[in-house]
Each structure stands twice: as structure tokens, then as C-alpha cells.
Subunit: 299 residues, 2 copies
């Protein structure tokens, strides 16, 4: 295990521990209801399992890059992961992408039923904002800026606009500009918000926020391109979900639009741009490693 992998796994472990903490912090007065245990289990099932924790990592790392107190970045980082997890639970529902498998395991609604999956998603989204607003060690104006940043990124002008476009693109052989715009909204906004929120915790200036934005935009898009590549080059076992699903859904992807080699070249270009954007900062080593790690990943 090299330095980066060790460092990433340490951050991930801290995130996982803090996520448990924030889940248990709420008083949960409905516990006497048998249904409520199922709901807590449903929330934990998706929140605590697997996941690369890229978004929390970006939050913590950009806080560190700009000289902030990384301890204070963990509450926003966990809130971001809760929002990400809620979006996956709702995305998998039969009325959306109708996916039975997520990270190699039954999707939330397959395991807990539709109603619990719907509510578990709603609960995680709401708990994210409670986690930020109730965080220790952050000034109220920082918390308020974080809330604003996260809600805009996750809301109808951000991630949800992307989900709507994604549904709208289905079976339409959408052109590359539409695919790119969909990805920028659906996953890019939350990835950018992750870096920006860490920067806000560090009280970064405008130039630094722009750096975070640029790095995250590029690795966010690269992430999607690599996803499309893995959908044709990986196996079900390695990927943890069925490969070839884009093809069977008649979906325009970077591979169908640029060819496999073109897509690989594009992912590398985006990764290089991300690395370039942080080159003038000390403590950029883990962000540089992350960009390469995401580009070369196998799942």
C-alpha cells in the first residue's frame, strides 16, 4: 500500500466513524415503533457500506490545501456523503433507473422495500443539513455558506437538473454536449461543491475557490468518462454492477461518442488539467494522486 492509498483509507475510516456518530446523534423518538428500526437500518445500509468517499475526501483535502483545520471539515464532508447516498437510493428506485444492484449488493428498495427506501433517502438528505447546522467548531457564517453551497449543488439547478436531463436523454442518442451538460449537473455539481465546501471551511479566498472549482470540474468529468469506459471494459464482478448497461439502455456515452481510445485520451486530458490547476500549492500531493487514482481505477 503506497502513501496515497494509506492516506485515503485513513480519511475514509475517519469519515465512516463520523457518519456513524452523526447517525446516532439524533434522538430518534420514534424508536419504539418497530418500523423505525427498519428505517434506521435502511439509512445505515446505504450510508455505511462501500462507496469510495471521494466527495468527503475532496472536502477534507481542499480544506488542508488551503491551510484550514481539517477536523472541522468532517461534518460538512459527512453531510455531502449523506446527500450523495440519498441520491443513489432514489436513483435506484423503480420509477427512476430501476437498478436492483448497487455496489455488488441488493439496492436499498430491494432490501427494505420502496417506502423505506424513499424515506431513508429523504431522511439522509434532511440529516445532512442538520449535521452542518449542528456542527461544532464551525462559525455560524461558515455553516450558513456551506448549507447554501450544498443546497444549490444538490437542488433543482444542480444535481436534480442533471437527473431530470438524464431521464430525458434516454433512448434519444443525445449529442456529446448534452451528455457533458448532464454529467456536469448530475455528478459534477456535487463534486465541485465538495472541494468548494472544504475551501470555505478553510476560509479560502476567491482565487483558491476557483482552483478548487477547476480541479473538481475536471476530475468530475474524468470520473464519468472512466465510468463509461469501465461499462464496456470491466466485468460484473470487478465493477460490482452489471457491465454493458449503457449499451442495453441505448444511452449515449463518451465511448459511443468518442470511441474507446478517444474516451481514454479525453479522461487523461481532464486528469492532467486537474493536476495542473493545483500545481502551485504545497500539500497538493494527495490531490495529484487522487486524480491519477480515479483515472486509472478498475471499478
Amino acid at each position: 500500500m503506497n502513501d496515497f492509498n494509506k492516506y485515503l483509507s485513513d480519511v475514509v475510516e475517519t469519515v465512516n466513524n463520523k457518519l456513524k456518530l452523526y447517525m446516532n446523534k439524533a434522538s430518534f423518538p420514534g424508536r419504539e415503533s418497530s418500523g423505525f428500526d427498519v428505517m434506521l437500518n435502511a439509512m445505515s445500509y446505504s450510508l455505511e457500506d462501500g462507496g469510495k468517499r471521494i466527495r468527503p475526501f475532496l472536502c477534507v483535502e481542499f480544506c488542508r490545501l488551503f491551510g484550514g483545520n481539517t477536523e472541522a471539515a468532517y461534518a460538512p464532508a459527512c453531510a455531502i456523503e449523506m446527500v450523495h447516498t440519498y441520491s443513489l437510493i432514489h436513483d435506484d428506485l423503480p420509477c427512476m433507473d430501476d437498478d436492483d444492484i448497487r455496489r455488488g449488493k441488493p439496492s436499498n428498495h430491494i432490501k427494505f422495500g420502496y417506502a423505506n427506501a424513499l424515506l431513508a433517502g429523504d431522511a439522509l438528505l434532511t440529516l445532512a443539513f442538520e449535521t452542518i447546522a449542528g456542527a461544532d467548531g464551525l462559525a455560524a457564517d461558515i455553516k450558513n455558506r456551506v448549507t447554501y453551497e450544498l443546497s444549490v449543488a444538490a437542488g433543482p439547478s444542480g444535481m436534480i437538473a442533471g437527473q431530470v436531463m438524464d431521464l430525458d436523454n434516454e433512448g434519444k442518442n443525445a449529442p456529446i454536449e448534452t451528455v457533458r451538460q448532464t454529467d456536469i449537473l448530475k455528478t459534477g455539481k456535487m463534486i465541485c461543491a465538495s472541494g468548494r465546501i472544504g475551501s470555505i471551511v478553510a476560509e479560502a479566498d476567491e482565487k483558491q475557490l476557483k482552483t478548487a472549482q477547476e480541479y473538481c470540474e475536471n476530475i468530475g468529468l474524468a470520473f464519468q468518462v472512466v465510468d463509461d469506459i469501465l461499462d464496456v471494459t470491466s466485468s460484473d464482478e470487478v465493477l460490482g454492477k452489471p457491465v454493458g448497461s449503457d449499451d442495453s439502455n441505448n444511452k449515449s456515452t463518451y465511448v459511443t461518442l468518442l470511441g474507446l481510445d478517444g474516451a481514454k485520451k479525453y479522461a487523461r486530458e481532464l486528469t492532467d488539467k486537474a493536476i495542473e490547476s493545483v500545481k502551485d500549492y504545497d500539500n497538493n500531493d494527495m490531490l495529484i494522486s487522487l486524480a491519477g487514482y480515479l483515472c486509472d481505477r478498475l471499478n
Copy 2:
């Protein structure tokens, strides 16, 4: 139209105008997608139509009761209504209560399809927090307290716990304490948060917050009791939804548990307690009228 009805309808009109404003404020970069117009319509359809606006009214009135600037209470008031509206959209979905009719019109998912209804709910919940965090004329620490209050009330220890209990109670002939606890969580927490948030905007002290809490707890419970009464005494046309639904769902209600006269007496007691709690304050006239109005309502 008496003074109270005129006053209420003025506040409701202001709330409706501000809700439109907050809906349009977001930049909505997904507008070029044809699917996105459908989503905005889906959000507006449920947000702009009907609704007594009791929660926003409580927010504005408690701000006024405690000498705050009511103008500043409208952003939180609208955020509360967005959260309330999202909860109704998700509650009506087939995997939850499966209601085709809401306020005399087709439910959101009947009109716009499941995926859009799901996302419209998600979007309204998220936009609520953007609306608070981005509000003008409120200090950051007030906005942060409002975010905390709203997220706790709407989250897994509040409204969502109530929704889970409600699903769990179905067909079980639950005893009155379980029914009461379900109502306190499912609707009471958000009603209490409405009064408390208006009080927070007015920078109310602990005693005043307790007053808001007490008033809201009592009218919140009275509201549910009257709902159960109307389910047996009203007609589909007056109520705007099918009457007798509690009976056909085998649901324990205050009427099945206390009898019709017992339920009416209980609603009156709760209303009197609410009125009692605000009796020592100037400017309590509209809150006193509201309590009576909710107790004697026909739909």
C-alpha cells in the same frame, strides 16, 4: 369577511408571491432540457396550489408576537411550506399512502408521473434550505438556527419518524397513545418548528420559545383530531378528498378511539389550551382567531 379572514388571506397572498419568487430565483441551468420544464411545473403545481398556509402563517405570526421584523420571517416561512409540500408529494406516492387526489386535484405523480413527482419532492426539500441560507435581511447565526430547527423537525427524529410510525400502524388498531405519538411526530414537529422558527427570527427568549412550542403543540394535535372528525362528518366535495378513507384503511383515529363527541370535546380542549398559552401577549388576536378557525373548519 371578518378581520381575521382578511388578515390571513393577506399573509397567504404574500406567502404565495414569495414562493413564486424563490422558485424563480434559482438559475435552473437545465432549462434547455425539455424534461426540466416538466419538473418545474411539477414543483409549482404542488407548491402554488391550494394549501391553507398554516405553517408559514404561524412563522410570521410568532415573529410578530415577539416583536420581530415579519418581513424577515417570510423566507423561513416559505422554506417551511416547501418542506411541507415535498412531504405531501412523497406521501401520496404509490409506495406510501397511494393517494390519487390531493386538495381536489390529481396528485403530483398522477399528473406528472412517478419520477418527476419523486424529484419534485426532493427538489423542494433541497430548495427549502437554499431559501433559508440565501435569505436577505437575516443574520447568519439566525439562518443557521433556522436551518437546524427545520432539519430536526423534518428529519428522522421528527416528521420522517412519524411517517414511518404511520406506515407501521396500518391495520393494527393502534392504541391512542401510539396514534398521538405518530401525529406529534408526523405533523406536530413541523407545526411546532413553524412557530419556533418565527420566534427565532424575532430573537425570542427561552420563555417565548416555550410559549410558541405550547401553542403549536396544542393546535397541531387539534388539527389532527379535526381531520379525523371531518373524515366521518364531511363530504368529498367540501373536503377535497375522499371521506371515509380512515375507515376503509382500518386506521385507528381519534373518532374510533374517543367517539365523535369525545373527539369534538378533545379538539376544543386542545384549542382552549393553545389560546391560554398566548393570553399574556399583546398582538395575540390573530393567533387566538387561528386556533378557533382551525377547530371549527369544514375542510
